[in-house]
Amino acid sequence: MEDELTIIERAKTNPQDFKPLYQKYFNDVFRFVLSRTGDIELTKDLVSDVFCKVLQALPNYTYQSPSGFKAWLFKIAYTTTMEFFRKQKKEVSITVDETDFNRFINEIAEKNSSSENNKEQLKKQLLEALQQLNPNDLQLLELRFFDNLSYAEIAQITEKTETNVKTKTFRLLKKLQSEILKTYNHG
């Protein structure tokens, strides 16, 4: 495949030329949207909207780096999905990979020295605690731990700064840790 910059520059005048990048990023964008909708048909429709918006915005886009392009793409995917939920007044559902979730449990449980025996209990408590979070906070954790995006990418997607994203993530983890510790202490 040609380099991304060449493809993008050509696609600015001839959108058909964007196809190699569509193919390259389709799987990631599809999973990103599907993890929020949980519905294949809806996701197919939203993802075509996402790439349509990408083509529309492409003439004004200035390519800087592959990571910058990916973050820009995911930003459009994120805003398109969130806009859909806002318009439909639906609650966002989240689908997460089990391996990612277990890694997240380890992150939370770091200071709780959890044994394997109480991992299941912790998993249940963590799910409950996550469900209590406000949608924005939950989205932030999803972007970081389940979409596995870097702080810089999340910052670009959510139009915040890296510092802000990092601090908020840190506080959320601390909050979840203290919630779980509280349950332990009372349990």
Partner: protein, 486 residues
């Protein structure tokens, strides 16, 4: 409540069979330009409005003129390098990882006042000052986080935007001291009640005096609050005493509550001397604690007087041991009230004297190359004693090169320090606002990389694009460097 599904192997699923680029192209061909809600290159939403119908023709004309002017301005901003680019810093201010944060946990009783003397700051919290998000008085453990920025290097490394906008004019800041104070209860931020304030004085190396500004995190701008003021007493002794001594304090000494006499060495705790001879009652649940207290050599005893009771805190330094007792003075008749009033008046006066002594100590220390800048704050966040300096207005293209040769991301902010007057301005987006012939240093704080970078001292001679190398540094090195160069 969000629904969370956990799916095994979700990340490894292949969705390529759903690819349909023709469908994307069909949608695109139907509307090849951005719709409302599309994105321009800055990621901001287009906000075009279409007005239909002669009844709103006038509005359309006005709107057209408005948009023409807006477009013209936008065009100018894109083509004319000397135009100022708006600096939007949409971020929550956070603690700098390069400067220590003082953490203090206090068990707050809303009716009490608190005097806190830490290494780098002094704080006075009057009663009924801290409230939660529902404006309810906060009670229980509160965590205070304090970060003081003592010098130009620390201020620059904080990444806090140092641009002050007043009536459309942008200013840089010449700081006389800046700090950040936050308070949390169970990780939830708490607030200062409206019309109440906390007095705080902290050590700074900056002699510059100035007005007081508060960083409004909602509006992302500094707000002028008042002229720089010194410390002032807020509570009158008479007021405290009048509130404290009421007939409600009369207790029956024969009831079943545990009663104890204060038994401490008054030479060690002179402020408690006036309270000698007064009996205090405590709840049954504290009876065991009273015996423990009597048998222990405590390193500090602190008493706080509230309207209805006296709170004693006993503690041992360098250990986790401490105890707090909420007590009430016991009086058996109205005759004893007068005597009690006098004793408590003496106690409060002694306590006030100790505050004055602490302040004297602050003044004394300020004569030893340490300045205590005092603030009356009405909210938690970032406060700044500063003198605005009219921003330099020439703009040159800037390319900041990291040590690995890559250019600094255009989204990152930098702090520009003007050496002749220590004015700091925040810049971004590869544009440098400066004045020809002036000497500057740029500092960049990369939080993610946990690194601070700085340039060499440089002078801008013309409008040509400028490429500067960034070198890794730290705040200590920067203090030395700036002290040498200033």
């Amino acid at each position: 409540m969000a629904k969370i599904n956990i799916q095994p192997d979700f990340n490894n699923q292949n969705f390529e069979k759903y690819q349909d680029f023709d469908k994307v192209m069909d949608k695109y061909n139907q509307n090849p330009t951005p719709e409302n809600g599309g994105e321009n290159k800055n990621g901001k939403k287009f906000n075009f409005k279409i007005f239909i119908g002669p009844g709103i023709a006038a509005i359309t004309i006005i709107a057209s003129i408005f948009y023409m002017q807006k477009d013209k301005k936008s065009h100018n901003e894109k083509t004319n390098e000397t135009q100022q680019e708006e600096l939007i810093v949409d971020e929550e201010i956070v603690f700098s990882p390069n400067i220590p944060v003082d953490t203090l946990k206090l068990n707050i009783n809303p009716d009490s006042s608190y005097i806190i003397t830490q290494n780098d700051y002094f704080m006075f919290i009057p009663p009924k000052t801290l409230v939660d998000e529902n404006n309810e008085y906060v009670e229980g453990e509160v965590e205070f986080l304090f970060q003081g920025y003592k010098n130009v290097a620390e201020i620059a490394s904080s990444n806090i935007p140092m641009n002050y906008d007043s009536n459309g004019t942008t200013y840089a800041f010449q700081s006389g001291g800046m700090f950040q104070l936050r308070a949390y209860q169970r990780n939830n931020p708490i607030n200062i009640k409206p019309k109440k304030e906390i007095t705080i004085a902290y050590k700074t190396e900056l002699e510059q005096s100035g007005n007081v500004y508060y960083y409004d995190e909602q509006k992302n701008n500094w707000t002028f609050t008042e002229k720089d003021k010194g410390l002032q007493n807020t509570d009158s002794i008479a007021k405290i005493i009048d509130e404290l001594i009421t007939e409600s304090l009369i207790d029956n000494i024969n009831d079943k509550r545990v009663v104890f006499d204060l038994d401490v060495l008054t030479s060690d705790f002179p402020q408690l001397k006036p309270l000698k001879g007064i009996l205090f009652s405590v709840a049954d649940k504290d009876s065991l604690l009273v015996r423990t207290i009597a048998q222990t050599q405590w390193n500090f005893v602190e008493a706080t007087i509230n309207k209805n009771n006296v709170k004693f805190c006993f503690g041992k330094t360098n250990t986790d041991t401490n105890a707090c007792l909420l007590t009430r003075p016991v009086v058996t008749s109205k005759k004893e009230i007068k005597s009690l009033k006098n004793k408590l008046q003496d106690f409060v006066q002694t306590k006030q004297q100790s505050i004055i002594d602490q302040k004297k100590q602050l003044v004394f220390e300020s004569n030893k190359n340490q300045i205590y800048r005092a603030f009356k704050i009405t909210g938690f966040g970032v406060w700044n004693c500063d003198r605005p300096f009219k921003d330099d207005d020439a703009i040159v293209q800037l390319d900041l090169k990291l040590p690995n040769g890559e250019s600094l991301d255009e989204h990152k902010t930098f702090q520009l320090i003007r050496l002749n007057n220590k004015a700091i301005a925040t810049g971004r987006s590869k544009k440098l606002k400066c004045k020809k012939g002036q000497k500057y240093i740029i500092m960049v704080n990369d939080y993610d990389a946990k690194k601070i970078y700085s340039t060499k001292v440089f002078t801008v001679k013309n409008q040509k694009p400028l490429a500067l190398k960034l070198k890794e540094t730290d705040t200590k090195q920067m203090v030395l460097k700036l002290n040498t160069k200033l």
